[in-house]
Amino acid sequence: MEGLLMIAAQVMSVWFTLAFTLIVLPSVFGLSLGISEFYMRILVKTLEWATIRIQKGVKKKQAMALKNSASSGIIQRDETTMEKEIAGLRRVDFELSDVFYFSKKGIEAIVEDEVTQRFSSEELVSWNLLTRTNVNFQYISLRLTVVWVLGVVVRYCLLLPLRAALAAIGIVSMIVGTTLVGKLPNSRFKDWLSELVHLTCSRILVRALSGTITYHNKENRPQKGGICVANHTSPIDVLILTNDGCYAMVGQAHGGLMGLIQRSTVKACPHVWFDRSEMKDRHLVLKRLKEHVADQNKLPILIFPEGTCINNTSVMMFKKGSFEIGGTIYPVAIKYDPQFGDAFWNSSKYDIVSYLLRIMTSWAIVCNVWYMPPMIREEGEDAVQFANRVKSAIAHRGGLTELPWDGGLKRAKVKDTFKEEQQKNYSKMIVGNGPTGNLSMGAESD
C-alpha cells in the first residue's frame, strides 16, 4: 500500500514538473513551444482520413442525403403573407377556409423555426470521431472503429488528466496571483503586474482546453476606456479574449469557486461585479458602467449583449443596455470551428461541470477572432438602431446569420404582442377598415 502511494506521488510530481516546464513557463512569456501546433497537424490529418473513409463507405445516395440534411431544412416555407393568402381579390368577410392558412402556418412553425435550432449544437457535415456527434452516421469499417477507440483512449486517459491538471494550476495561480498583487498599493507597477498575472493564467487555461486561436486585425484591439462587444457562445469566450488582452469583466457576483475568483481578481484590477439585487436596478448598472468608461485609464469593459449562449451559427438580438453607456464600441466576432470540438454551452441540457468535462474531452477548441474597427453612435441614431448596426457588422464578419429574435426565447415564451398583432391584422381583413372597407393594409401591417 505504501509502495503504491510512493509511486503515485512520484508520477504526480513528474506530471506536474512536465506541465510546469512545458506549459506554464512559456505562458508567462507568451511563447509557444510548438507542441500544440504539432498535435493539431496530426489531428487534422486524422480527421481528413476519417472523412475520406466515411465518404467511400457510405453509398452515394445516402451521402447526398446527409449533405442535404445538414445544410437545408425540413420544409420549404411558403412565404405568402396573410394579406395575399386570405384577402386576395375577395370582398371583406370571414370564410370557413381561412382556418387553412392559420393551421398551415402553425404546423410550419412547429416543424421548423429559425430560433429553436439555434439553441442546440450545430450539425456536422462529416463525423469527427466523437461519440456525441454520431447522430446520422452509422458503422463504416473496422479501421475507422479502431481509430475511434484509440481516440477515446487518448482523449479520456491522456488528454483529460493533463487538461484537468492545467486547469487546476491555472485557477489556483489566478486566485493566488491576483490576491498577492492586490496587496500592493495602487501604482503603474501594480497595473503592469496585474496584467501579467491575468494574461499568464488565461494562457494556461486556454492551453488546458487545447485552444488554437487565430486573431485577425490585431490593430483594432480594444483600447482603454472603451467597451468590447462580442457574440456569445460559451463561458470560454471570456478566456479566448483575455488570452490576448486585458479586460474589465462585468457580471453578477456568484458564490462558490466562481465567487472566490471574482473576489480575488477585483483586488488586482477593477472588474465590475454586481450583486443580484443591484443587477435588477438598470439605472444603477448603467451608472457604474458609465463611470468606469469615463475613466480613460481603466481597462476596456467586456460585454456580451445577447445575454445568453447561442450556438455560434447566428447572432441574436443585441440588448440595447450596453449601447446606452456611451463611449467607443469595439466589436469582436468569434467563430468556432465545430469540427474539433463543440464549444456551445446548452445550459438547459448540461450544467457547467458536465459542460467543462465535454470541452476537456473534445479534440481541441479551434476558433477565429476578428477585431473590428471601433464604432460610435451616430447623430439621430438611438440605442436600438446602434445595437442592430453593430450586430450586423459582427454577423457579417464572422459569417453568422443575423436574427432579430431575442436570445431570451431560450427559456421564455414569445411575447403575446406578436400574437395580438396577427389577430389585429386578421380582424381588419374580415371586418374592413371603416365605412370604405378598404383592403390595402400594406402600409399599416408592421
Binding site: I74, E85, S97, Y101, S103, V111
Partner: protein
C-alpha cells in the same frame, strides 16, 4: 447519453409510420429529431395535449401535398391521410371542438374569437357566425355538418392551401 438510446426510433416503427403517413425514411428521422428537440421534458410527448410521436406524424401527414401520392397508388389500402377528403376532415375537426360531428354557433364563435383576439365586438362576431351558418346550413339544424362543410368548400383549392413542401 443513456436516456437518448431508449427513445431512439426503431426500424420497424419507421416502417409502420412510412406506411401510415407516406413520409420517406429520411423525412421521418429528421422529424423525429425535431420532435425530440421540442420535447423538453424528454418523456416522449409534447406538453399539454400529450401528443406522442405517432400522433405528431399523423397530424403532419395531413399536410403532405397530394401529388406525392401518385408514386405509391395503393387502390386497395385505406385512403391516404393527405387526401382531399381527409384534409377537409382535419379542418372540420379544428372547428368542431366537442367532436359531435357538427359545428355549432358557439363553437364557431369560440374559434373566431381565437382568430381575432379582442379586436371585434361580440355582436359583430355573432353576426359573422350567423351569416356563415346561414350560408352553409342546408338541413336547417343551425349547425354545419361535415357534408355541408365540404359543399361550402367545394370550389376552394384545398390541396394548395393545406400543403407543406417537405424536402427530400
Amino acid at each position: 447519453m443513456g436516456s437518448r438510446a431508449s427513445t431512439l426510433l426503431r426500424d420497424e416503427e419507421i416502417e409502420e409510420i412510412k406506411k401510415e403517413t407516406g413520409f420517406s425514411h429520411s423525412q421521418i428521422t429528421r422529424l423525429y429529431s425535431r420532435f425530440t428537440s421540442l420535447d423538453k421534458g424528454e418523456n416522449g410527448t409534447l406538453r399539454e395535449d400529450q401528443v406522442n410521436f405517432r400522433g405528431f406524424m399523423r397530424t403532419l401527414a395531413h399536410f403532405r401535398p397530394i401529388e406525392d401520392n401518385e408514386k405509391s397508388k395503393d387502390q386497395n389500402g385505406p385512403e391516404p391521410l393527405n387526401s382531399r377528403s381527409n384534409k377537409l376532415h382535419f379542418a372540420f375537426r379544428l372547428y368542431d371542438l366537442d367532436k359531435d360531428d357538427k359545428i355549432s354557433r358557439d363553437e364557431l364563435l369560440q374559434v373566431l374569437r381565437m382568430m381575432v383576439g379582442v379586436n371585434i365586438s361580440d355582436e359583430q362576431l355573432g353576426s359573422i357566425a350567423d351569416r356563415t351558418i346561414q350560408e352553409a346550413d342546408q338541413d336547417g339544424d343551425s349547425a354545419i355538418s361535415f357534408t355541408e362543410f365540404v359543399k361550402v368548400l367545394e370550389k376552394v383549392d384545398v390541396e394548395q392551401k393545406m400543403s407543406i413542401r417537405f424536402l427530400h
